[in-house]
């Protein structure tokens, strides 16, 4: 028995029928075919599925699609400007080589934007602590931390 939900995803209104037990990440990936949001674990530890729900970073594997009724959801596909200009955080990840295989990257970037916007993270230790919920296996975090600091500075301008 499906539930009808209406929400906004990357600025577009969406109305779909979902099962009651459908996770938000499955709705995003399988129903909306927005495959930039990734699934890296099954215990809500890795953060690869992080999106913004009403402007706050949220692990979309830890929330039902039905709970997003009426919400404003932004995925990595919706972060850059409409003309394709990268968000300052995306640009900083590129400039600082803050990604390698790219799999954790969407979640990492979405978390990074939130931790700058809402937690005021600037220093290396603040950024490292705040990124605790996102696992990267490639970069050793060295360049991710630099990217978040550079992205934070660019967002402040």
């Amino acid at each position: 028995m499906g539930l009808q939900i209406t929400l906004t995803v990357n600025g577009e209104p969406v109305t779909k029928t979902v099962e009651a037990n459908t996770l938000l990440v499955s709705f995003i990936r399988d129903t909306l075919r927005l495959t930039g949001t990734h699934v890296g674990c099954d215990t809500s530890q890795c953060g690869a599925c992080t999106v913004h729900v009403n402007g706050r970073a949220t692990k979309s594997c830890g929330m039902l699609a039905a709970q997003a009724q009426g919400a404003n959801v932004t995925t990595i596909e919706g972060l850059a400007a409409a003309d394709g200009t990268l968000h300052p955080m995306q640009a900083a990840f590129k400039a600082c080589h803050g990604l390698q295989c790219g799999f954790c990257t969407p979640g990492m970037v979405m978390s990074a934007v939130d931790l700058v916007q809402h937690h005021g993270c600037r220093s290396e230790s603040q950024v490292r602590e705040a990124l605790e919920g996102n696992i990267c296996r490639c970069t050793g975090y060295h360049n991710i931390v630099k990217a978040v600091q550079q992205g934070a500075a660019a967002m402040a301008q």
């Binding site: 099954d42 990604l99 390698q100 295989c101 799999f103 490639c138 050793g140 975090y141 060295h142």
Partner: protein
């Protein structure tokens, strides 16, 4: 910017980043095909059991089920092959029990594949799997590496073919000479080691999507894999008997590998097999819990080592006995890790005249163990750099000085364990590391820590590794069942734009950027005029893939050789156009020129002439400008360097903080320092992870994996690590490839674990601390040292 020097050596931002940063990457799970179906694997809950009864009848009629496959379906096909034959000391071959696609009458580790259910949806497949009835007769499991062989008396053979659980007993070096060196030495340092089992954890879990086209009688497999041609070869030729030209393997964007995606696994093999029966595409995506159980693990060696020294600290001999855990089955390259990639590295950077190493490889009821970032070389480096540092402390020598006294300084240098190093300058990298790490300031920092009640220590590691396993003839003589060359193709289009096809595979390494930098410089054309294609057997002529830090030194060289052929043919076309002799044409800055004149023709005009051959030397040349090359190196490459770690320990809690991690690497020439440094950063994180955090633990009684999620297996996170000090600039170019490159992918994971543990031992004033040096382990060591 000079065109010849334009891109090589520059920090060029990566061309692949745009798609990854905007969610446009295409990983295997992102691909959904028309008529997609889904597979779920029923896995063994027991480490060791006979399957008494397997009844799929209830599951078969469950909603949405399209097919159920068990070991019965695969009785007629081959097992998953092992790619490297190791012979015993007596010359007899290793034990090589069949590795079935799905369990055949017996399960041998928790997570072993028992059945595959294919259904319309994943939920239906999973629900149906719960209806499969299996009666298991539990058997006592063999778990612990050190005692696996000794358990034979209890009738616990993992495989009937190996009643003592021994896969092979192999050795290398000079046994008698080493024994004599130990007997006559002024000092012998002895250490026991357990190189902890690691679980690779690429962030993208394994995934496959197989389909069968009845009209063409051909298969397509999308798979998260590091070497699609090898995957195809192994699956077609050794298991399913599918002609290779009827099989296309595509490894699209791959979210990390670290070795774990080299291998042919049963899951994708079962998918391909079933796709012909189901007549629809079948997708399987591993969840993380399954990945912990079923990905090939890494390391898991137990070793005993003795280093013989004279009174001045000069090494006289090294004796190593290692037991290596193979797990339940022989994964694709499992057998060569403790032997060819471990024992041969035991000379390290040193002139140890006598070395003897014996390896006993054992079967256990645990997940198969195979290459994980570094593969054998981290185990060798850990053993050697721990025992060298320990010897220094025992003899009252400075750890840098004992190394300096023993460094190899003349090249080429033939080690007593089979390798010939072509070049290096070990003292230079160590001196630079000592500078960068501010070793001179350590005493003051230690005093400051002491004043706070904290312990501070400094540890060295001077590693060497061997990359780009080669040449094929030598590898073959050592038991390799595959060639170890690489292939490249340069397809010049009529307008002078270029598509490069490489058999290497990028799963984070940035080949689309680095390889384009190389080709842009060679051809004197913009990087935007070059695209790099990889990861598709339908496009790329052949390939051996990416592992062992081989992509640039082997794969890049194949591309360079193909580019050289393009230039050679281009010179002949240019000579015709310029009415000059072939031998008078030089190619520089993207132009073919008649030497000593101002007559010239640009690259794009030559390419256009090749495809619109109105005015063309048809009597001498074929039209077109498209060349390929295979490159089989004449030797390994030997990256080397010195890592220095500085830790601070709170003895009250046992918590270790890595305060400084300095890495100076000699990778030979560097194409893109930004990417190379990134590779080192990642390797350092995995090495520090091994030293402090990560441990794949099985329960010895039950064989259950106790570290089966990110709640239990301690992955390094951002706040576990410091920023690193990394330098790769000064190097000795490799002497036997045209780029002078050595490989950088694994160094960080190889060099760092002993540096960390040496630093902890130094801080606490103890001889040994086991990896991973968790707070509890360190706290115990600190208490014992009081």
């Amino acid at each position: 910017m000079n065109a010849r020097q334009g891109f090589i050596g520059q920090k060029v931002e990566r061309r692949e980043d745009g798609r990854f940063l905007t969610g446009k990457g295409q990983y295997t799970d992102d691909i959904t095909l028309q008529g997609q179906t889904h597979a779920y694997f029923l896995r063994s809950p027991y480490a060791h059991a006979r399957i008494q009864r397997l009844d799929t009848s209830a599951a078969a009629t469950a909603p949405g089920v399209l097919g159920i496959f068990t070991g019965e379906h695969f009785k007629a096909v081959g097992g998953l092959p092992c790619g490297w034959l190791i012979n015993n000391l007596d010359g007899s071959p290793m034990k090589e029990p069949k590795h079935p696609v799905l369990a055949d009458g017996k399960v041998r580790y928790v997570g072993d594949r028992v059945a595959m259910v294919v259904a319309q949806t994943l939920d239906q497949a999973q629900a149906a799997a719960a209806l499969i009835e299996v009666d298991y007769e539990e058997l006592p499991p063999v778990v612990d590496t050190a005692t696996a062989k000794g358990l034979s008396a209890a009738g616990q053979a993992v495989h009937d073919e190996a009643p003592d659980n021994l896969c092979y007993h192999w050795g290398i070096g000079d046994k008698d000479g080493t024994a004599a060196a130990l007997a006559s030495a002024a000092h012998v340092t002895t250490l026991q080691f357990r190189n902890n089992r690691l679980i690779p954890n690429a962030m993208e879990p394994r995934c496959a999507n197989a389909s069968y086209d009845a009209n063409a009688d051909s298969y397509t497999l999308y798979v998260s894999n590091q070497n699609p041609h090898v995957e195809r070869l192994l699956m077609c030729a050794f298991v399913l008997g599918i002609p290779e030209h009827k099989m296309r393997v595509v490894a699209p964007d791959v979210g990390g590998g670290f070795g774990s995606k080299i291998y042919l696994y049963g899951e994708e093999t079962a998918l391909v097999f079933a796709s012909k029966t189901i007549k629809r595409p079948i997708k399987w995506t591993c969840d993380r819990s399954e990945a912990f159980l079923s990905d090939a693990h890494g390391r898991d060696h137990v070793s005993h080592a003795q280093l013989a020294l004279d009174k001045d600290g000069r090494f006289l001999g090294l004796k190593v006995d290692t037991t290596a855990n193979m797990g339940a089955y022989l994964s694709t390259f499992s057998t060569c890790i403790p032997t060819i990639l471990h024992a041969t590295l035991l000379a390290g950077q040193y002139k140890t005249p006598k070395i003897w190493c014996e390896i006993q490889a054992v079967f256990t009821n645990t997940a198969p163990v195979d290459a994980y970032r570094g593969a054998g070389r981290p185990e060798a480096t850990y053993l050697l750099e721990r025992i060298v540092e320990t010897a220094a402390h025992e003899l009252g020598l400075d750890p840098a000085e004992i190394r300096r006294r023993n460094f190899i300084t003349e090249f080429p240098y033939a080690t007593p364990v089979g390798l010939t190093y072509d070049t290096g300058d070990y003292d230079a990298t160590m001196r630079r590391a000592i500078e960068l790490a501010d070793v001179a300031g350590f005493a003051a920092r230690r005093a400051a820590s002491q004043a706070k009640g904290l312990k501070r220590g400094l540890g060295y590691s001077a590693y060497i590794e061997a990359c780009g396993i080669a040449p094929s003839s030598v590898a073959g003589a050592l038991g390799a069942r595959a060639g170890l060359f690489e292939a490249g193709e340069v397809r010049v289009h009529p307008t002078g734009k270029v598509t490069i096809f490489t058999g290497s595979h990028s799963h984070g390494q940035g080949h689309e950027t680095t390889f384009a930098q190389v080709v842009a410089d060679k051809l004197g054309i913009p990087m935007d005029d070059i695209s790099i294609e990889h990861g598709d057997t339908g496009k790329v002529l052949f390939g051996m893939g990416t592992y062992g830090s081989r992509s640039l030194s082997v794969g890049g060289t194949a591309i360079v050789k193909a580019v050289d052929k393009v230039i050679a043919k281009g010179k002949k076309i240019a000579a015709h156009l310029l009415e000059a002799a072939d031998t008078d044409i030089v190619f520089e800055g993207g132009e073919f020129k008649v030497a000593g004149t101002d007559k010239k023709v640009p690259f794009a005009q030559v390419s256009l002439t090749a495809y619109v051959p109105h005015n063309f030397p048809h009597d001498k040349l074929e039209p077109g400008l498209n060349e390929n090359a295979f490159y089989d190196p004449s030797n390994f490459t030997y990256p080397a360097g010195t890592y220095i770690c500085e830790v601070e320990i709170d003895p009250a809690t046992g918590h270790t903080t890595v305060e400084r991690m300095t890495a100076v690497d000699d990778f030979g020439n560097v194409i893109n320092p930004m990417i190379v440094e990134g590779q080192v950063h990642g390797g350092l994180a995995q090495g520090i992870g091994q030293a402090l955090l990560e441990h794949g633990v099985y329960d010895n009684e039950t064989g259950q994996l106790l570290t089966g999620s990110y709640m239990d297996y301690a992955m390094p996170r951002a706040d576990d690590l410091p920023s690193f000090t990394v330098e790769t600039a000064q190097g000795t170019p490799c002497t036997h490839n045209p780029l002078g490159v050595k490989g950088c992918g694994e160094a960080g994971a190889i060099g760092s674990p002993p540096a960390v543990i040496n630093a902890i031992c130094h801080a606490l004033g103890v001889k040994d601390v086991a990896m991973p040096a968790t707070p509890y382990t360190v706290w115990q060591a600190a208490r014992a040292a009081r």
